[in-house]
């Protein structure tokens, strides 16, 4: 037996050698460092840790196991998914081909590709969300609508920067500040951009307490920020039960492409409110949500292979994502200012910034900034109205973009 030859072969087959011997192997090293940074941000800085830890580890696993030309032991195979999307390939839309050659993370990714995980996450979000503040003040929906400004401005900006229509739509939706919606739309329109878009969306959502307050200060006066809002009316149980049924019926008929997201969001909410499905509500908001989060985060992280991630587009996406978030905040605040003026100063415009979705972080920011200027002010429940309206608004924006570019 040629011991030295065997050892040499083992060495050459190892990932350590692959860093230097394969085409672009050094890029994997950079991606591994990026994964470490993301793990640090998730664990130490607590930036959306439930998602960022999974995304970072998925990124780490795929870049440890996949090298160009050495895909045998890879957990995720980008070339399989390229063939899946290539109309000229014999494996176009062939899940059979994927499954017969897949690594573990390819299997996980099927749930993202089929749009299953984002919809299930939305079901959990629905089961966790109290739409009472929105029902008590339906005008909040206007702030949720105006806070979608960043989606369309970033879409336009992305086209200016040279992205295609579907890519620009996927980048724009980062401004909806809704991770599952961004993942859902990107998977349908520009799956090759999923990694950077998911990272941008979740990172900026975690940074909302830093991004929003200066903008809130800039677009409102001190007098506006001090407005104390009246107690909202009490919402009956019947209203809360009827709400998800009405919203599903109305929004899905209006924009059928929103059906998976809005349908699951409202199904989860019906479980919560109807009073006879407590077990299902509990499962949707805890066990199911946690399981799906693990699969979603790791498989999204796995798409961050060096060849897809390390390029100029990623930098543009990170920049456009930040603009999108900031402009959405401005849109929500302007909506709030208009409502302040039309209501005779009874609505505090700070709650408008919560229209960017990112439940409940954005509403908490409104509360914190409001209390800074008036210690007796409790804006949280008022801000939850535009906040949950933002979830519906971003789903409608995604549905519109999907129906145009899908």
């Amino acid at each position: 037996m040629d011991i030295l030859g065997t050892l040499r072969d083992l060495g050459l087959e190892s990932g350590f050698a692959a860093f230097f011997l394969t085409d672009g192997g050094w890029k994997n090293l950079i991606m591994i460092l990026i994964a470490f940074v993301l793990l640090y941000l998730g664990i130490v800085k607590k930036f959306e840790p439930l998602l960022l830890c999974g995304i970072a580890f998925g990124c780490l696993l795929s870049n440890l196991s996949y090298f160009v030309g050495l895909g045998e032991n890879a957990l995720y195979h980008p070339e399989l998914w390229e063939a899946f999307l290539d109309e000229a390939s014999p494996y176009y839309h062939s899940y059979g081909h994927i499954m017969s050659n897949a690594g573990l993370l390819d299997f996980f990714y099927i749930g993202v590709k089929a749009g299953i995980y984002p919809s299930l996450i939305f079901m959990g979000v629905g089961a966790m969300t109290d739409f009472g503040p929105l029902l008590a003040n339906p005008k909040s929906l206007l702030m949720g609508a105006s806070a979608q400004l960043g989606v369309f401005v970033a879409f336009f900006g992305a086209v200016l920067l040279g992205f295609t229509g579907p890519e620009a739509a996927s980048i724009g939706i980062i401004g909806g500040a809704d991770g599952p919606t961004a993942i859902y739309l990107t998977t349908k329109l520009a799956p090759h951009l999923l990694g950077p878009i998911a990272i941008a969306a979740y990172s900026y959502m975690a940074l909302i307490p830093l991004i929003q307050p200066p903008i809130m200060k800039l677009f409102t006066t001190e007098k506006m920020r001090k407005v104390k809002m009246e107690q909202a009316r009490e919402v009956s149980k019947t209203e809360k039960i009827v709400f998800p049924i009405v919203v599903s019926t109305f929004v899905i008929l209006l924009l059928p492409s929103t059906a998976p997201l809005v349908g699951c969001l409202m199904l989860g909410n019906l479980f919560r409110e109807c009073g006879v499905t407590d077990r299902l509500s509990d499962t949707a908001q805890n066990a199911l949500m946690n399981i799906v989060t693990i699969f979603l985060a790791t498989s999204v992280g796995a798409t961050m292979v060096a060849q897809n991630f390390l390029n100029v587009s990623t930098i543009k996406i990170i920049f456009l994502g930040l603009c999108s978030f900031a402009i959405s905040t401005v849109g929500g605040l302007l909506g709030g200012v208009v409502m302040y003026k039309t209501s005779g100063g009874r609505i505090n415009p700070l709650i408008g910034s919560a229209g960017v979705s990112a439940v409940p972080m954005a509403a908490r920011v409104s509360q914190d900034v409001g209390r800074k200027y008036n210690k007796t002010n409790f804006l949280l429940m008022h801000a939850m109205g535009p906040n949950v309206a933002g979830v519906i608004g971003s789903a409608i924006a995604a549905g519109f973009l999907l129906s145009v570019f899908g």
Binding site: L134, L135, P138, K139, L141, L142, G144, A145, S146, Q148, L149, V151, F152, V153, F155, F156, V159, L160, T164, G165, P166, A168, R233, S236, T238, E239, V242, F243, V246, V247, F250, V251, L254, L255, A389, I392, G393, I396, A397, F400, L401, V404, F405
Partner: protein, 117 residues
């Protein structure tokens, strides 16, 4: 289709504007639906509230004694004591004794007036 993939700047501008308008229209229509729904619910609640005093005027049959719920230590009787004050008293007693509240049984709480001391 190729027009949409390689979208022109003018078309992108129109699409962005149209998209924003669609979001607004969708949510305004939803707002109208919710306002109608809210108005119906509020008027029903008002009718029910108006009907309630009439029903209360009819003398009700004496209710059967209610059995305490399983796991509870029966009902607490309050004499001249507000339920909030009673809750505070119970919390203070539990804290002073260092015992969890669910391991203590309060049978009655009575306010002792100054002239009764």
């Amino acid at each position: 289709m190729d027009d949409l993939v390689n979208i022109s700047i003018a078309n992108a501008g129109i699409t962005a504007l149209l998209g924003y308008v669609v979001v607004f229209i969708g949510l305004i229509l939803l707002m109208a639906v919710m306002m109608i729904m809210g108005a119906i619910m509020v008027s029903r609640a008002k009718k029910a509230a108006a009907a309630a005093p009439a029903a209360a005027a009819v003398p009700a049959a004496p209710a059967a004694p209610k059995a305490p719920a399983p796991g509870t230590a029966g009902e607490l009787k309050l004499y001249d004591t507000d339920p909030r004050d009673a809750a505070m008293v119970m919390a203070i007693v539990a804290d002073t004794l260092g015992k969890p509240l669910n391991e203590l049984r309060f049978k009655s709480i009575k306010e002792v007036k100054e002239d009764e001391i």
